[in-house]
């Protein structure tokens, strides 16, 4: 039994230095995830800011009849279309469209994947943050206003610090989803962790070890993210009884 496992292990990981394939795959997966995460958070913050600023200020801006009302109205519409399209279509389809249609002339599939996953994640991050802003008691906004804060100051000093604390679990959940979702990058020829495991399987005709290794690596990555989330949440909880 043990001998068979050892042979299996040697075949899949030691022969031809196949473990290096997993390392290269892991690096690709981490690169895509990291860049997509940054893009996603950036888009998410901007979209959430537009949507909630519009929702919270449209009446007042309309009353004042300022130009900014129309600018914000258009931006809000764009954001809503973006959210509808991204959340309404599968990630793999978006990835394929990005690679074969939008960036058809590009050979940088890694870059395309970063962009596609980032654009996708941004929609979910935006709604998480917007939900966090909406969950803040209206009294907090009123207290800010009554002290003479304008909207941006109320957001910056009062609302956003509370939002960050509230949305952290949901945000980390999205990061976890993202890291696993990059496993479809093989569709556009990227040799990410999943693809590499599958490549080993197709060369050694042995599925058990490479696929379980891949699953184990994802599990460790996610557990690391969860541990980071726990630490951050504990640190932000200092102002509670």
């Amino acid at each position: 039994m043990f001998e068979k496992w050892k042979a299996d292990f040697t075949l899949n990981f030691i022969d031809n230095d196949r473990w290096m394939m997993l390392v290269r795959g892991l690096i690709a997966t981490l690169e895509i995830t990291a860049v997509a995460l940054i893009i996603g958070v950036a888009i998410g913050i901007v979209v959430a800011a537009v949507r909630s600023t519009y929702d919270k200020n449209k009446d007042e801006m309309k009353r004042r009849g300022t130009m900014s009302y129309y600018v914000l109205w258009v931006l809000n519409l764009i954001c809503r279309i973006y959210l509808t399209v991204i959340r309404g279509t599968p990630t793999v389809v978006q990835l394929l469209i990005a690679y074969f249609i939008i960036f058809a002339s590009s050979t940088n599939s890694l870059g395309v994947a970063m962009f596609a996953f980032g654009l996708n994640s941004g929609a979910y991050v935006a709604e998480i943050i917007r939900g966090g802003i909406m969950s803040i008691d209206v009294g907090q906004f009123e207290a800010g206003s009554s002290l003479g804060f304008h909207y941006v100051q109320t957001m910056r000093y009062v609302v956003v610090p509370q939002v960050i604390k509230n949305v952290l679990p949901a945000l980390f959940n999205e990061f976890i989803v993202l890291i696993k979702e990059t496993s479809v990058a093989g569709y556009i020829g990227i040799e990410d962790l999943t693809k590499m495991g599958d490549l080993i399987r197709s060369r050694t005709f042995s599925a058990f070890m490479p696929l379980l290794a891949v699953a184990g690596i994802y599990l460790v990555l996610v557990m690391g993210l969860t541990a980071l989330d726990d630490r951050l949440e504990r640190r932000l909880r200092k102002n509670e009884r």
Binding site: D137, L147, V158
Partner: protein, 248 residues
């Protein structure tokens, strides 16, 4: 228009909801003089909170005008944030910022809005905390305070902006009965110092003792307005008589 004595003049204020089917405030006119304490009483749903919240435009009136120091703040061209700096507000549910310590709650607005020096603001905050007997809670977070403590902090937080008028929206309604007194005491002190105050309250004892004038509202209208004696000893309208029979 610019009467030196008058702090706030409300003219024909109306606030309608739901396509004008609900009249929260229905043609209300009233004046508040400098240094005057006015209590607004009335049954729930009578529009008294809406009226108070209109005074710093937390509620946007449907029609009418509000003059503060002679300036019409309902004019869309007015920077309302500038006016709110001069009008302190205390809420029923305190609305302290849970992400900041007591001291930070008090100092953030003077620091960021009025651009005052941190040292100065800190000193002023500590002096105010001393006055409301909460000097030892400066570094506590709001979640660690009792309701009465929270409301006293909310009052001194508003005072940190050195407002010309203080608005109180049912400041003791969310408090346990044994904590009402400590908050009312702070408000009484404030009244004695000559602060202009508009107070929506269910505390009839406080209204009778502290208010110079009492406004009785019902169904969005001012039904009666007068001195505490007028209101409590000689209520003229049937609605006020009914109301007093229920609450006293």
């Amino acid at each position: 228009m610019n009467d030196d004595k008058v702090m706030i003049r409300v003219e024909h204020l109306k606030k309608y909801y739901n396509d004008h089917t609900i009249h929260a405030i229905d043609d209300v006119s009233v004046e508040i003089d400098k240094g005057e304490v006015v209590c607004i009483i009335g049954p729930s749903g009578s529009g008294k909170s809406t009226l108070l919240r209109s005074l710093n435009l937390l509620e946007m009136p449907t029609a009418g005008h509000i003059f503060v120091d002679g300036v019409d703040i309902t004019d869309p061209k007015i920077d309302i944030n500038l006016h709110r700096q001069k009008m302190g507000m205390v809420f029923q549910h305190f609305n302290l910022f849970p992400n900041m310590t007591v001291l930070k709650n008090m100092t953030i607005a003077p620091e960021k809005v009025l651009k005052e020096a941190k040292q100065e603001v800190d000193a002023r905050a500590r002096a105010l905390l001393e006055r409301v007997n909460l000097a030892d809670r400066a570094d506590a977070y709001p979640d660690q305070l009792s309701g009465g403590q929270k409301q006293r902090i909310a009052i001194v937080r508003a005072l940190m902006m050195q407002p010309e008028i203080m608005l109180f929206d049912e400041p003791t309604s969310a408090l346990d009965p044994e904590m009402v007194g400590e908050v009312l005491d702070v408000m009484k002190d404030l009244a004695k110092e000559g602060m202009t105050m508009a107070v929506v309250t269910h505390e009839m004892g406080f209204a009778r003792e502290v208010a110079e004038r009492i406004v009785f509202m019902d169904a969005g209208k001012i039904v009666e307005i007068g001195s505490p004696e007028d209101i409590f000893e000689n209520p003229k309208s049937e609605r006020l008589q009914d109301f007093l029979a229920k609450v006293l």
